[in-house]
Symmetry: C2
Subunit: 569 residues, 2 copies
C-alpha cells in the first residue's frame, strides 16, 4: 500500500476522554472514531489490524476442523424464549420491534440460532461431532460502555458451537479448541494464560478463560510460579495451611471503642492482621428449609469468596443478614461480631485458614469490645471448615507446586463445555447408534476479535505509540522515503524495494506522502509498524538502507542483502 | 476441503414455499436456512459462495483505489435527523431503542455515517478525492420479504462513498466506479447491463443501475439491439416518430355507449389501437402558482411515464384530477375525456407520438361518445409536446442506432453521482485551494453482495441444479471417489489428485463421503461445481480420469496431463 493512496490520520494530542492506553492510542493513531456511546467506526488503518486478527482466528479454526457459517444479526424473540434467555439475559440484550410489531434482538451470542440450525440440518450421530463457527458483529447493550473497543456495545466476535453424541466427544473437542486458542494467541504474539473459570449459572462441566495479561485488565487471575496452574480468582482453591499451633494465650476482652475493622483492631493491639478474624453475617437455609443465621469466618487479611460460599449446602441462595437479624442472633451491631456469646444457635463456617489459627482475635458481640486469645476446642467447638475465601498472592499453589501470584488480565477468549442445557431446552435431538433420540452435548467457544486489538496494545506499547506483534500489524514493514519529490533516484529505489518486499510476501507500506522525516517517523512509530526502512540519498550513496525494529533503541545501516535477510527472518 | 469433514446437506424435494428458481435451488442445495421472515442463516456451503463474491468485489474496489473501512450497524437517530432521513426513509428503516431509551436504527445504507466520519477526518482539498467503502450487513425492513436472499431483510452490501472538491473529480470517480463494477460483474461471469437510471428524489446528476438479466427480475430494462444503449424504463427516451401525415378524414362524433378504454373503442371502430389517443386528467400548477387542469395525451397503446411528466414545468408535484375537477373542466366523466370542447382553459400536453398523429380518435367529453378524424392545427391548436410515455419494445433507440428491446433484470449494483445533498445537510466542508470552506461533492456506489449469489443462480441453472460461474463456485473442481473404503488404491489416487490440484491453486473439494455414485453425482451437480473428476478402479486401470464440465452433456476420459491442462485452462 502506498500511504499517499491510503487514508492515515494521526493526532498529535492525546485524547482527553480516553482512560486506558489502548483507547488513547487507537484514537491517536486514527484507528477508530466514535459514532455514539460504545459504537465505533473502524478507519482503514484500524480495519487492517482487525482483519489480520480475523485471518489468524479463521485459519486456526479451520485447521482445527471447525466449519465457518454465518447467522443473522437480527433474531426472533420466539427462539430466545425457547431457552428462557429472552427474559434472563437482562438489559444487555438489545431488543428490537419491526414494522409489524414482531419482536427481535440483536444477537449477543448464538446458542439458540445455532441449535435451531442444527436441529433442522442434522439427524444422526453419524454426522457428529461437528463444530460450526462464525466471525460476525455482535451487540451487548452495556450500561456503561467504555475503554473504546475494549468494552464497546457493538463488537466483532468469533463464536463456535460444537455438537456431540457423548461427553467424551465433547471433552475431546473442548481440548481441541483449547489447543486451537493457544495457537491463535501464540501466533498473535500475545502474552496470555488459559485460566480455569467457574461454570457459574450456565452449568456445564468445564470452562477456561483466555486472558491477555495487562495491568489495565478488569479480571484478576491467579497463577503459580512453579507450575502451569492458572485460574480466575473466583475459582482458585485456597489450600489448608499447616497444622494448627497450640494455644498459648488465655481468653481476654479488649476494649476497641471505635475499631470496627480488623485493620484497626490489629493496629490498636499491635498484632499482625493475620491474627484477626473477620465475621460476616448471612442468612442461609437449614436442613428443614428454614432461614438459618450463618457466620462466615475468614482471616483479617482475606476476603470472602461468594461463589465458593454459595456451593456449600444450604448456601445456594444465601444473602447478607440485616442489622435486625444480626441484633437478634448476636445481640450486637456490625463491627464487633464474632462466634462467641451468640444469643441463639447459629451456624459457623470457618475458612480453612481460620480453622488453623490459634490465639486469634474476634468481635465480642458487644459494641466497643473484641476478644483476644481465642482458641478452637477450648473456647469454641471445632468449626465446620471449608474453602470460602479468595486466594491471595503468596498462597501455595493448589497443585502443590510453587506459590500463587495474582495478575490482571483481559478476557479475550472463553471455552465452555455446555452439556445439554440448550439441546434439552430446544428439544434438539439426534438418533444414536441404537436408533434412540438423544440430546447432543454442546460446547461453545468465543473469541473477542475486536477486543484483541485493544488488548494487544495494552500489552505492546511505549511512549512513542503502539508496538504491534508481527501477525497483527497493519503492515509488517514501512519503507520511508526521504524527500521523494526532489530526489527521483531515492523515489525509484524506494519504489523498487517496496515492490520487492511485497512480491516476497512481506506486507509493506510505502510512505511516499512526502512528509518531513520527523513527522513521518513519528507516524510510523505511533501506528506501530514492526520494521522501518529509510531510503535516503545519503544511504543510496553508501549503498545502504537504514533499518530499525520498532522495539529496538537504535537503527543500523544494512546493505540490501542484509536487509532482506533481516526482514525475511 | 474433504467433504467428509465439511457439512453438506442437500434436499431431494423441491421446497414448496419457494417461488423463484434461485430460492428453490439455494434451499435444495442447503446454502441457506430461514431463521425468520427475511432472515437467513448462511450454511457453510452458502457462505463459501458469498465469500467468493465478496473477494472479487474487494479486489476490484481496492484495484480501483477505494479504501476499505467499517461503520457500525447500529447508528444514532441524531445522525439520521441531520439529513431528515430518520423520517423520510419510511418504515423500511428498522428503528431500535436501547436500555436508556435512546433511539437508533439498523443501518440500511451509510451516507450519514460516512459523512460524519469524513467531516471529522478530512479538512483540506489536498486529501481529496477519497473513496471509502465497506462490505457489511445491512437491514431493510421490507414489508414483504421474499425470494430468499434476493429480497431479504438482512443482507450483505458493499457500499462506497466518494468525496470531491469539484464536479469534474466526482465524474471521473463515477466513471472509475462504473468501470470497476463492469470488471466485477464480468469477473463473476454474469450477463449484465449498466442501465442509465433516473436520479429521482435524491437529485444528483448521474446514475446507473447494474442489472443481471433474468426473466424473474423485478426491473424492466430497455436496451438497443444496435448499440450499447441501455436504460431503465423510467428513464429511456421515446424519440419523435417521423413527420405527421396530412389530414385525410373529417371530424365526426362516434357513438361509444360502453366503450371507455382505447382498446374497446379501437375494437368497435375496427381501427388499430395506434390511431386512438388516451387522455389523462391531472392537476399541476400554472405560472402564478395556482392549480392548473392538465390533460396529458398518449397514444392508445402507450403508458404515461410519471417521472418524465414530473420533470415538466409546473408538474413537479402533479396529482391525478378528481372526478369533480374533471366534471368542472371538461363537463364529462372519465372514459370519454379528450382535448376538444373543454369547458374552461386547460393545459394540453401531447406525447411526441401523439403530436405526430393525424386522423385520430379522442373522447368527446360527452358520456357515450368519442370523436374520430381529429387533426392538429385544423381541429385543435398545435399542442405543447414532450416525451411523457414509457418506451415499448420496437421503438427506435434514442441514440439512433437500432431498435429498443425490453428485458427483465435484477439490480445488483448502483452508481450514483450524489452531488452535495448530504455534505450540505450535514454541514460537511473542506478548505479549497483558496482557503474557502466548501461542501464536497459526493458519489455513492452500492453492490448487493448476497443478492448476487441469487442472481447468478437465476442466470445459471438447469434441471439438475446450479451451474456456478467459475469465480463464485464454492469449489472449482470436485474430485469424486468411487468406493473409497473398499479400494485403497482409488482412495490414494484421489487423495493425491486432490492435493495436487489444491497445491496448483485450484480450489478443489474431495468427495470422500463414500456415497453411491448416483447420489454423489447428483449432489455435485446440484451444488453446481464447474468441473467434476471421477476417480474409479476402472479408470486407474486404464490410466484415465473421467472429466465432465458442469455445462457439458458428456464426460470424457483423460490422462492426468490432459486433465491438468484442462483444469488449469
Amino acid at each position: 500500500m502506498r500511504l499517499s493512496q491510503f487514508h492515515l490520520r494521526t493526532e498529535k494530542e492525546t485524547p482527553a476522554d480516553a482512560e486506558i492506553v489502548s483507547h488513547k492510542l487507537m484514537l491517536k493513531a486514527g484507528m477508530i472514531r466514535k459514532l455514539a456511546a460504545g459504537l465505533y467506526t473502524w478507519s482503514p488503518l484500524g480495519l487492517r489490524v482487525l482483519r489480520k486478527v480475523e485471518g489468524v482466528v479463521r485459519e486456526e479454526m479451520n485447521r482445527a476442523g471447525a466449519i465457518e457459517m454465518a447467522m443473522p444479526s437480527v433474531q426472533p424473540k420466539e427462539l430466545w424464549e425457547e431457552t428462557g434467555r429472552w427474559a434472563k439475559f437482562g438489559p444487555q440484550l438489545l431488543k428490537i420491534r419491526d414494522r409489524k410489531e414482531q419482536e427481535y434482538c440483536f444477537t449477543p451470542t448464538a446458542e439458540e440460532a445455532v441449535t435451531d440450525f442444527f436441529r433442522q440440518e442434522i439427524a444422526s450421530y453419524k454426522q457428529l461431532p461437528v463444530n460450526f463457527y462464525q466471525i460476525t458483529t455482535k451487540f451487548r447493550d452495556e450500561i456503561r460502555p467504555r475503554f473504546g473497543v475494549m468494552r464497546a456495545r457493538e463488537f466483532v466476535m468469533k463464536d463456535a458451537y460444537s455438537f456431540h453424541i457423548d461427553d467424551d466427544s465433547l471433552h475431546a473437542e473442548y481440548r481441541n479448541m483449547y489447543d486451537a486458542y493457544s495457537r491463535i494467541f501464540t501466533r498473535l504474539g500475545l502474552k496470555f494464560r488459559a485460566v480455569a473459570a467457574d461454570t457459574g449459572a450456565i452449568g456445564g462441566s468445564a470452562s477456561h478463560e483466555f486472558q491477555v495479561l495487562a495491568e489495565s485488565g478488569e479480571d484478576a487471575t491467579v497463577f503459580s510460579d512453579g507450575s502451569d496452574y492458572a485460574a480466575n480468582v473466583e475459582l482458585a482453591e485456597a489450600v489448608s495451611p499447616g497444622p494448627r499451633p497450640a494455644a498459648s494465650e488465655s481468653l481476654r476482652d479488649v476494649e476497641t471503642p471505635v475499631q470496627k475493622t480488623c485493620e484497626d483492631v490489629a493496629a490498636l493491639l499491635d498484632i499482625p492482621l493475620q491474627r484477626t478474624v473477620k465475621s460476616v453475617a448471612m442468612i442461609g437455609v437449614d436442613a428443614d428449609g428454614n432461614d438459618q443465621f450463618v457466620l462466615a469466618l475468614v482471616r483479617g487479611d482475606h476476603v470472602v469468596n461468594e461463589i465458593k460460599l454459595a456451593k456449600l449446602p444450604g448456601m445456594g441462595d444465601y444473602r447478607l443478614a440485616t442489622e435486625a437479624e444480626i441484633a437478634e442472633a448476636l445481640g450486637s451491631e456490625p463491627g464487633f461480631l464474632g462466634p462467641l456469646n451468640a444469643k441463639k444457635a447459629i451456624r459457623v463456617i470457618a475458612d480453612r485458614s481460620v480453622a488453623a489459627m490459634a490465639d486469634f482475635v474476634v468481635g465480642a458481640n458487644r459494641p466497643g469490645f473484641h476478644i483476644a486469645g481465642v482458641n478452637w476446642g477450648r473456647d469454641l467447638p471445632e468449626p465446620e471448615t471449608a474453602d470460602i475465601r479468595n486466594v491471595v498472592a503468596g498462597d501455595p499453589s493448589p497443585d502443590g507446586k510453587g506459590i500463587l501470584q495474582i495478575a490482571r488480565g483481559i478476557e479475550v477468549g472463553h471455552v465452555f463445555a455446555l452439556g445439554r442445557k440448550y439441546s434439552e431446552a430446544m428439544k434438539c435431538t439426534v438418533l444414536d447408534a441404537a436408533g434412540k433420540a438423544v440430546n447432543p452435548a454442546m460446547g461453545c467457544y468465543g473469541i473477542g476479535v475486536s477486543r484483541i486489538v485493544a488488548a494487544a496494545i495494552e500489552q505492546n506499547h511505549d511512549d512513542a505509540g503502539i508496538r504491534w506483534p508481527e501477525a497483527m500489524a497493519p503492515w509488517q514493514v514501512a519503507v520511508c522515503v526521504i524527500n521523494p519529490k526532489n530526489d527521483p533516484a531515492v523515489a525509484a529505489a524506494a519504489e523498487a524495494l517496496y515492490s520487492e518486499l511485497n512480491a516476497a510476501g512481506i506486507d509493506t507500506a510505502l510512505d511516499d506522502r512526502g512528509l518531513r522525516p520527523g513527522a513521518m517517523f513519528a507516524d510510523i512509530e505511533l501506528i506501530g509498524i514492526p520494521h522501518r526502512v529509510v531510503v535516503s540519498g545519503r544511504g543510496l550513496e553508501a549503498g545502504t538502507y537504514e533499518y530499525r525494529a520498532r522495539t529496538a533503541a537504535e537503527s543500523e545501516n544494512l546493505d540490501k542483502a542484509a536487509l532482506l535477510a533481516k526482514l525475511a527472518g
